[in-house]
Symmetry: C2
Subunit: 186 residues, 2 copies
């Protein structure tokens, strides 16, 4: 009887460190998703709500800059919105993984979607970044002039909006690696 | 004696399907890496070697377009070169996984690098794509004119060079998912 209790105690000691680590990784997964989701939300909202109207205008044209003037910025807002929506939805599955830390198939599913989202988010952030760079510096070879001298406030805000998106992409890389480690320890 | 042989036969039947599938996935991994590497190589070379000189020039300026006129294209060439180098190097580890299909830690390492490369490649392809789009369509709001009417041949080749890069990024997504499935079956 006594020996039986001892055995059970030893067995649970054997299992616990792995389970505890898996649960810890699942909690980390949950927290990273919240931060990444907040990053994409901040990016989408900042880019989507930024506009600047210059205080002078000609008879026919009013000078006004908005995100949907440039297709890359529209893609940025859409990409970040999709990523944000996905990250919020994935919290449900992430919570399930904290409770049932032995689940494997649902982790692979989440990893697959995370990978696709990384591709999307990295593409959206980078497409916008290349246009922001052009807006700041211009390009004399292609005769594209920097527009940030005129639209100073607009440029500052869209530059800032990139940060959340790049941070979220980096967190997705961490999420994918964390998932792979957890899967390997099932 | 006879029964013993039968048991061994049954046991090897039990183990084999998993091992065989893992080996199959490892071979698939190897092939996908070769195709992705070829894609990034083709992209980097096409973008890097494209230039066009217009048949007219003024006294001071000769009209000539090359990839390093535009920082996003330089980033594209560098990003694809790095990804290509990594994919070639990763073939060694991929070959090792075909031989030792039970290896787990080295698969996680490869998955981590694959994920980082996906971020890089997706960013490089997308940054270049947004500039290629601008070169084709221009943007009247920002007063950036399409340059593809003049540099027609240049534009066609750089547009084509994007394909290899996007294909490679897509294959990296498949590689990451394949790795995760193989890791889960160790």
């Amino acid at each position: 009887m006594k020996s039986g209790t001892l055995d059970a105690g030893e067995a649970s000691k054997d299992v616990n460190p792995t389970q505890r680590l898996n649960r810890g990784l699942s909690v980390l997964d949950f927290i990273l998703r919240i931060i990444a989701g907040a990053g994409t939300l901040a990016s989408a909202v900042t880019m989507g709500t930024t506009n600047e109207t210059l205080p002078f205008f000609t008879q026919s044209i009013q000078f006004r800059a908005e995100y949907d003037d440039i297709p890359s910025f529209t893609f940025f807002v859409i990409g970040n919105s999709i990523a944000c929506g996905y990250l919020v939805l994935s919290l449900v599955l992430s919570l399930f993984h904290i409770v049932r830390s032995a689940a494997v198939n649902s982790r692979i599913l989440l990893l697959a979607f995370d990978t696709a989202m990384l591709g999307l988010l990295s593409a959206a952030a980078s497409a916008a970044a290349s246009i922001v760079y052009l807006a700041h510096k211009g390009n004399s070879d292609a005769n594209w002039f920097a527009i940030c001298q005129q639209f100073n406030n607009f440029c500052e805000r869209i530059s800032g909006s990139l940060i959340g998106s790049f941070v979220a992409a980096f967190l997705l890389i961490l999420l994918i690696i964390t998932s792979a480690v957890t899967i390997s320890r099932h």
